[in-house]
Structures are given as C-alpha cells and as structure tokens.
C-alpha cells in the first residue's frame, strides 16, 4: 500500500532525469518516461487487487512515518485511486508520439503526471496548493512549447489568469489557517463545524473556488479555454479538457464536503455553474469551427458538473460523479475526432461519405453527450434532474429550467453539424469561399481507435447498467462521507469520540 507514494515520486524523478539522460541517449530517456507510466499503472492495479476492502474502507498513508496532523498524509479511497489510475492511463493515451517531439515536452508530461497524481491523493491543504501550482506550471509550459506564436500568447494569458487564481487560493488557505491553526484536511474537517461555519469560512471558500476554478473552467475565470484549446494539438487539448479540469473539480468537491458546511457555499457553486452552462452553450452555438465548439461545450458541461455537485446530499454526488466520468471519456474522444476535422464547419460538408466510420462514432458520442436514452449520458442527466427536483429553493428550480434549455441549444448546434456532414457535395459551393478552406486531413488511426473504444465503452455501460450504477452509489457515498475521512486519518480520535457519545 505504501508504494502509492511512488506514483508521485517516480514521475517527478523521471521528469528531472530525462533531460540529463537524453544527453547520452535519447532513446533511453524516452523509454524511461514510458516505463514510469507503465509502472504507475501496475502499482495502482496491484493495490486495487491486493486490498479488496478499498471499496468500503479508505486508507491514510503518513509520509515518512510522521503522523497527521503534524505530518503530511496521502488519502487513498476509491475515488482518489480511480483518478490516480486515470492520470497515467490518459497521459499514455495522449502521449506525444511524434519523433520530432523534443525531450523537454516529455519531461513536462512527466511533471504533469506527478503533480496530477499528487493533487488527487494529497490530504493536506497546502500540499494541494503546491501540487496545483506544479500542475499549472507544467500545463502553461506544455501549451507554450507547441511553438506557434498563438500558442505562446494564449499560454501567457492563461498564466496571468492562473497565477492570480492561485494567489487568491493562497489567500483563502491563509484565512483558513488563521481561523483553525491547521492545514491537515481531516483535522480541518474536525474543526470546521465550529470554526469555519461563518462569513470568513465562506470567503475562503470563494477564494479557493476562484483559484481551482481556473483549471476547472468555472464561469468567470474560463476565458483561457477557447484560446488554449484552439492553439494546441488535439492530444493536449483532450488531456486538459478530459483529465485536468476533472481533477480540479474533484478536489473542489472534496474541500467543499470536508471544510465548508454552510449552505451558501453550495448556492455560490450552483449560481456559477448555471452561468457557466448558459454562457458556454450559447457561445458554442455561435462557433464556426469544430474545436472552438468543443471548447465552449466543455465549459457548458463543467457548469452542469458544478450545478450537480451543488445539490446537497448523495443524489447530487451521484449526479456529479456520473457527469464527470461521462464527460471525462467523451470529450477527449471528440477532440481526437477533431484532429481530422480542423477548419470551418462548412468545410465538413459531405464528410460522411468520405469517412463514414468517424461520423458514425461522432454521432454515438454526441447522442450520449446530449443525453439521449439509453446511452450513459442520459442517466447522468436523469440523475441531475431528479436531484434538482428533490430540492426546494429558487436556484435549484432555475437549474431545472436551465438544464433542458441547455440541452436544446446543444441539440441545435450538434445536429446542425451532423446535417452539414451529411450534405451532398454539390450544395457546398454557394456557401463556401474557396480562399478559406483548410484542406481536410485524415484521422490518425490512434485517434480513431480511442474514439471507437470510448463509444464501445459507452455501449458496454448501457448493457451493464446495474453494476455501473452500484459502483456509482458506492463512489458517491464514500466521497460524501466526512466521518469516514476523519476516522481513517485519526483512528484514535474516532474511538474517543464514540466513547464520549456513549
């Protein structure tokens, strides 16, 4: 169990060793990075097999043997283990395989892996900040290294926004520390009901939400999204939209559950989520090219996620996790399809005849994204609607109204695209200016394979709905269980408390 720590240590070590090793042998350096990823996956699968009890029980690992709250701990439960597995797997899937890729880019990818694993596993507020900053620096550099002038400018704007966000987050952490005198999440959670349940606590939540929200594409701080996704390669866009935004969301939700008991925090998230849905979907509707449409629809989907997590109780957790997981696989697959479909939407006219298989995959994916039964996306949205309807409060009622409206807008722009794809070649001449054509490229086999396996996975989930929903229930109950978190990190406090209650 203790070798979970290697998930952070090995990639970090590899990140700094790779440029050195590359001086003597480039091939060795590349193998080093890949083998670290494979070792990480093996470690997690091993832990999962070894301890079947992780399903019901979490484990806290004290680093270096110093027990919390003085020491720093990693907290391993189902959801953090699942995302820790998703990190190396997705980095491997979207690994920049080009021969021309410089070793520096591989090194940054390893840095990204290390910090993403650390972010999801860490049980210490300040560690979360450090890993978040590391993740941010790795992603700014990965965007800028793409070489084009636009990528550097987009990355700089991203950097300004991200740094202001993380300064805000640091301020939030400072407020929490002055109120409680600790930074350990479990200890904070123990103190939160009396010390953070006030206006200062709410303020620090808002500050942390601003900071993490930059990565999570939260409403007011997401203007970097279309610029960055438009200027980087589809692989990196898929990784950022699919994985990194979800990691930030999960960390926000964990902090929300553990530290901030006040209902205003949930309402704040609901409002920002609804704003995200509206703005994202409306701008996606106006988008003129496929990548931009995907970027804005991703903002809209993340808004739905925040709306779902803002529903108190387990129903909201289930809906949120379902949408997160669903979007985490569907959006990268769509970005992989976008590699072949760069350029104006009008350019895609008649593309269904040239590559029928890719268009078929596209239709399956967007049907699930829209929430057409019986695909998994429908069940995710269904849970969201049921959760919203069980709450009273005007903001949730507004949410119930917004979700179908957003769905109608999505249908409008995605089906318009499908119509263009199935148009006969002859019709296009009138609308298309020959100057502004980007030659249609073909899809890479790898991208198509990813999209096809995602589509197959969606259909498999439809066939295995019962086990999937059982898993979802256990994930949700574990994520929303504060007492389990506290008692896992401090076994002795738990027993003392039980005795005092008796």
């Amino acid at each position: 169990m203790d070798n979970i720590v290697l998930l952070v240590v090995l990639p970090l070590l590899a990140a700094f060793l790779m440029p050195v090793v590359a001086r003597s042998s480039e091939v060795l350096a590349r193998t080093l990075g890949l083998s670290v990823l494979f070792i990480s996956i093996a470690i997690i699968l091993n832990v999962w097999n070894q301890s079947g009890q992780i399903d019901s029980q979490a484990v806290s690992i004290a680093i270096g043997g110093f027990l919390p709250p003085l020491g720093i701990n990693f907290y391993v439960d189902q959801i953090s283990l699942f995302f820790a597995l998703a990190v190396p797997v997705m980095v491997l899937l979207f690994w920049p395989w080009n021969r021309s890729t410089s070793i520096r880019e591989y090194s940054l990818m390893m840095l990204l892996t290390a910090s993403a694993s650390g972010l999801i596993l860490s049980g210490d507020l300040f560690n979360i900040y450090v890993f978040y900053e590391l993740l941010a620096i790795a992603s700014y550099s990965l965007v800028a290294i793409q070489g084009r002038a636009a990528a550097v400018a987009a990355s700089f704007r991203y950097l300004l926004m991200g740094s202001v966000g993380s300064v805000m987050m640091l301020l939030g952490i400072a407020i929490i520390y002055t109120q409680t005198g600790t930074l350990n999440l479990a200890h904070l959670s123990l103190l939160a009901p009396e010390k953070l349940n006030n206006i200062l606590g709410l303020g620090s939540f808002a500050l942390i939400l601003t900071g993490m929200g930059v990565k999570a594409e939260l409403f007011p701080v997401n203007s970097w999204v279309p610029e960055v996704y438009g200027s980087v390669s589809s692989n990196l866009a898929a990784l950022m939209a699919g994985l990194l935004s979800k990691l930030a969301v999960i960390v926000i939700v964990r902090l929300l559950i553990l530290l901030f008991p006040q209902p205003e925090a949930l309402q704040l998230m609901a409002v920002l989520g609804i704003m995200g849905v509206i703005t994202g979907e409306l701008v996606a509707w106006r988008a003129k090219d496929f990548v931009r449409m995907l970027s804005f629809s991703s903002i809209g989907q993340l808004g739905l996620v925040f709306l779902a997590f803002s529903i108190p109780g387990e129903m909201g957790m289930m809906a949120g996790i379902a949408i997160v997981l669903h979007h985490m696989v569907v959006k990268p697959a769509l970005f992989m399809l976008a590699t072949g479909w760069r350029g104006s939407l009008e350019n895609l006219s008649g593309v269904a005849r040239r590559s029928p298989f890719a268009v078929l995959l596209f239709i399956v994916l967007i049907l699930s994204l829209l929430g057409i039964p019986p695909l998994p996306g429908f069940w995710a949205k269904y849970l969201l609607m049921v959760g919203l309807s069980s709450q009273d409060g005007s903001i949730y009622t507004l949410g119930m109204f917004i979700v179908p409206v957003a769905m109608i807008i999505e249908i409008a722009y995605l089906f318009r695209l499908v119509m263009i794809m199935y148009r006969k070649e002859g019709d296009e001449a009138a609308v298309n200016n020959p100057d502004i054509k980007v030659a249609p490229q073909s899809h890479s086999k790898w991208g198509l394979a990813i999209a096809a396996s995602v589509a197959a996975m969606l259909i498999a989930i439809v066939l295995q709905l019962q086990p999937a929903s059982d898993k979802l229930v256990s994930l949700a109950s574990q994520l929303s269980d504060r007492n389990q978190y506290i008692s896992t990190v401090f076994p002795q406090i738990h027993t003392v408390r039980m005795q005092s209650i008796k």
């Binding site: 300040f126 450090v130 900053e133 941010a136 620096i137 700014y140 550099s141 800028a144 084009r148 002038a149 636009a150 550097v152 400018a153 987009a154 990355s155 700089f156 704007r157 950097l159 300004l160 740094s163 202001v164 300064v167 640091l170 301020l171 952490i173 400072a174 520390y177 002055t178 930074l183 279309p226 610029e227 438009g230 200027s231 003129k288 090219d289 496929f290 990548v291 931009r292 760069r342 350029g343 104006s344 350019n347 200016n433 100057d435 502004i436 054509k437 980007v438």
Partner: protein, 157 residues
C-alpha cells in the same frame, strides 16, 4: 491592536490592492506581470503576519528556556515555511512569464495586451480556417492588412 500591526496589515492589504488594480487596469503585459509580483508580495506578507507575534522570538528552544516554557512567546513557523514555498513558486512562474513575454515580443512585435489579444484571435481564426489568411505577401503593409482582415472578419459575423 497595536499601531505597528495596523501599519503592517494595511501595508500588506494595500500591496495586494495595488497589484489587483494593476492587473485589471494596465495594458502592457510586462507591467501586468509586475503587478502580479506586487500582488503575490502582498498576499505573502499577509500570510507571514498571520503567524507573527509582536514580542515573539524564533521558534527554537534553547536549554535555558526549557524551564519556563509558558513565558516564551514564539512566532508561528508554519506560515513562514508556507511563504518560503510560495515565494519559490512565484519566482518560477514569473520567470516563465518573462520568457513568454520575450517570445511574444519577438513574434508579435508589441507588448500591448489588447493588440496581442486581437492578433491571437485572428491567428486562431486563420488556423482553424474561418478567416482568410493575411496577405503577408501582398503589397499592403502587414499591420494594415491584418486590421482590414479583422474588420472583414467581424463584418462576416
């Protein structure tokens, strides 16, 4: 609250506000980065102050102090450790930002955020094929050509 603490806190908060205002109001990317530096300094100072005791000593126990532990006032070392980390991270981010500014200046020839943003939007539009590539080889000068194309692009929308 002693007067000295009021001064210290208002200094830290003032620095943060100057930094934020600079980020919002300035238009030169280099100055924006400097405003970010000031903002970070302000927040770091706030963090340090949260663990600061006016009569406090460094949190190191000496043998002769062991006897009267309750009489010693110590500064809280945790915020200091945090700020040390935050400063290092901040320096890294600022260096990265400066390197990017140099690349931007070399490629776009301007430090004005509005112009950079305009060109960025335009480059993205060209790249994704929804705007005509600029007539870089045309007799019209590059800048005016870009502006014309931009206005055309807007008209289309």
């Amino acid at each position: 609250m002693p007067a000295i603490e009021v001064v210290l806190y208002s200094g830290a908060i003032g620095l943060s506000i100057i930094g934020l205002a600079g980020l919002l109001l300035l238009n030169n990317v280099f100055r924006m980065l400097l405003a970010l530096v000031i903002l970070e300094a302000g927040v770091n100072l706030l963090l340090i102050l949260s663990g600061f005791r006016l009569a406090g000593v460094a949190p190191i126990l000496l043998p002769e102090q062991m006897s009267n532990l309750s009489a010693i006032v110590m500064n809280d070392p945790v915020p200091q450790a945090l700020v040390l980390t935050a400063i290092v991270i901040g320096v890294g981010v600022q260096a990265l930002g400066l390197a990017m500014i140099m690349r931007i200046k070399a490629q776009y020839g301007t430090l004005n955020m509005l112009k950079i943003r305009e060109q960025l939007e335009f480059d993205l539009a060209v790249q994704s094929g929804v705007a005509t590539p600029v007539s870089a080889h045309s007799p019209v000068s590059l800048a005016s050509g870009r502006e014309r194309q931009l206005s055309n692009h807007k008209d289309e929308q």
